[in-house]
């Protein structure tokens, strides 16, 4: 991990994002070190997906500064080091799984796109259905393909938005294994999820977003589930709202 070593992977200072007059993120200040894994919790509408999309360069902050991988710009050199698993698979339904992965590997300048695609199909256990169009995939198969698409270029910063959604137990374990391997490789991971157990299992640190604000953060330890539960209960009370 030589590129930009020492610089935080994500450095947000007073970041806000609004769509029209609707604020979605407010004054978020957060630093995520390289190689760190962060779990992002919060109710629907808390701003988790927006934070991830800001980090993916898909949105620009309305206010504040957001440095990604030590850089202020959102150019190709930054984008090629980021991988995003979104709510949607971001794949073409009329192309096969293999064609999709080959296309994205080529788009990221992988030296041998076909081999990279085959390796990832194997890793997410989709080799048998690699020639089928994505349109006929089940939700779980599409989610595994989405994971492969996001990782096909070996990104340094991995952004996961509800990655366990739609996965059966075996596929969820497969994802857990891949994430553990990525952590060992020193990749930075941001995972937004409602699944507390799975989220904490892959994270070094956890944060809670509520109504666009960063309400709580803590290193992950034995007492984190209880603390998280207490925070969630507090935020549900009318006074917090």
């Amino acid at each position: 991990m030589s590129r930009g070593a020492g610089e935080p992977a994500v450095e947000a200072v007073g970041v806000a994002k609004a769509f029209g007059r609707t604020p979605v993120l407010r004054d978020v200040t957060l630093t995520i070190a390289r190689g760190e894994a962060l779990a992002i919790f919060g109710p629907n509408g808390a701003g988790k997906s927006t934070l991830l999309r800001l980090c993916a360069t898909l949105y620009r902050p309305t206010a504040g500064t957001l440095r990604l991988l030590g850089r202020d710009d959102r150019g190709p050199d930054v984008r090629r080091r980021i991988g995003l698993v979104s709510h949607q698979s971001l794949c073409y339904p009329d192309l096969s799984a293999r064609e999709n992965l080959t296309f994205f590997a080529r788009a990221y300048g992988a030296p041998n796109p076909e081999s990279v695609a085959d390796a990832w199909l194997d890793r997410v256990a989709l080799t048998d259905v690699g020639a089928r169009p994505v349109r006929v995939f089940s939700r779980g198969m599409e989610q595994r393909l989405a994971l492969a698409r996001a990782l096909v270029h070996a990104p340094d910063l991995i952004l996961l938005d509800e990655p366990w959604t739609g996965l059966d137990a075996a596929a969820a374990d497969l994802l857990q294994g891949i994430l553990a391997a990525l952590r060992r490789e020193g990749r930075t991971i941001l995972a937004a999820t409602h699944d507390v157990a799975r989220g904490l299992a892959v994270a070094d640190r956890a944060i809670v977003l509520h109504r666009g604000r960063l309400e709580w953060e803590s290193a992950v330890g034995a007492d984190t589930p209880a603390a998280l539960d207490a925070v969630t209960r507090r935020l549900r009370t009318p006074a917090a709202a």
Binding site: P76, R79, F103
Partner: protein, 217 residues
């Protein structure tokens, strides 16, 4: 750029959605014109019929280019990649150009069949006129299709946004086609072709430069 172009052409080859819709719509518009014109007037009106039919049917095909990107959010997959945004525009524009060029060949055949338009003595001149008209149309329509695809009333907005700006291209293309279909050569339509080429350059460069700002949310 080649990666995106290859993917777009593969998708079109597999689904044939843009081309089939384009040909059916062109045929329907042409049939209407066939009944509207006196056979003696048909040849005179041919250049206008050619471009009016092409522009209205073509807008449908160009919009499709970006609609396929919205399904499953694959547009974001493309924007996340390190491919230069200007190159995405050029790839999309070139893909449209290829599909529209095939459609225009079909349209010319239909014109000959339904309106009795004779093929010109200088087919190369017709190729130049149509080629220049296609480039201008593709550049402008691709740019605005990218803009309108995010909007709710996109089917209505695209023609409203593009057609006023396309007027100079359409006028030049109609006039140059009139000269060529009447038996003239490319040199006879020189003034129209020069204006057309100028618009092509302006629209293509503007699209390439503005695309990044246009796709940023």
């Amino acid at each position: 750029m080649w990666t995106i172009l290859q993917k777009d052409l593969l998708l079109e080859l597999r689904t044939r959605e843009a081309l089939s819709a384009l040909v059916v719509l062109m045929l329907l518009i042409l049939l209407t014109f066939t009944f509207a014109f006196d056979p003696a007037e048909a040849a005179t009106a041919a250049p206008a019929v050619l471009w009016v039919t092409f522009v209205f049917a073509g807008l449908l095909a160009v919009q499709r280019t970006f609609l396929i990107e919205r399904e499953n959010g694959s547009w974001y997959g493309l924007l996340l990649s390190p491919i230069d945004r200007g190159a995405i525009f050029v790839a999309k524009m070139t893909g449209n150009l290829i599909v529209l060029a095939i459609a225009q060949v079909v349209l010319l055949a239909l014109l000959a069949l339904l309106l009795g338009v004779e093929m010109p003595r200088a087919p190369l001149a017709l190729f130049v006129v149509n080629g220049l008209g296609l480039v201008g149309f593709s550049a402008l329509a691709t740019l605005f299709a990218a803009l309108s695809v995010r909007l709710r009333a996109r089917e209505m907005l695209l023609p409203l946004l593009v057609l006023p700006l396309l007027v100079p291209v359409v006028i030049c293309a109609v006039e140059a086609s009139r000269v060529v279909l009447a038996g003239g050569g490319a040199a006879d339509a020189g003034a129209w072709l020069r204006v057309l080429a100028t618009f092509d350059v302006i629209f293509t460069v503007a699209g390439w430069l503005l695309f990044e700002q246009l796709v940023q949310e």
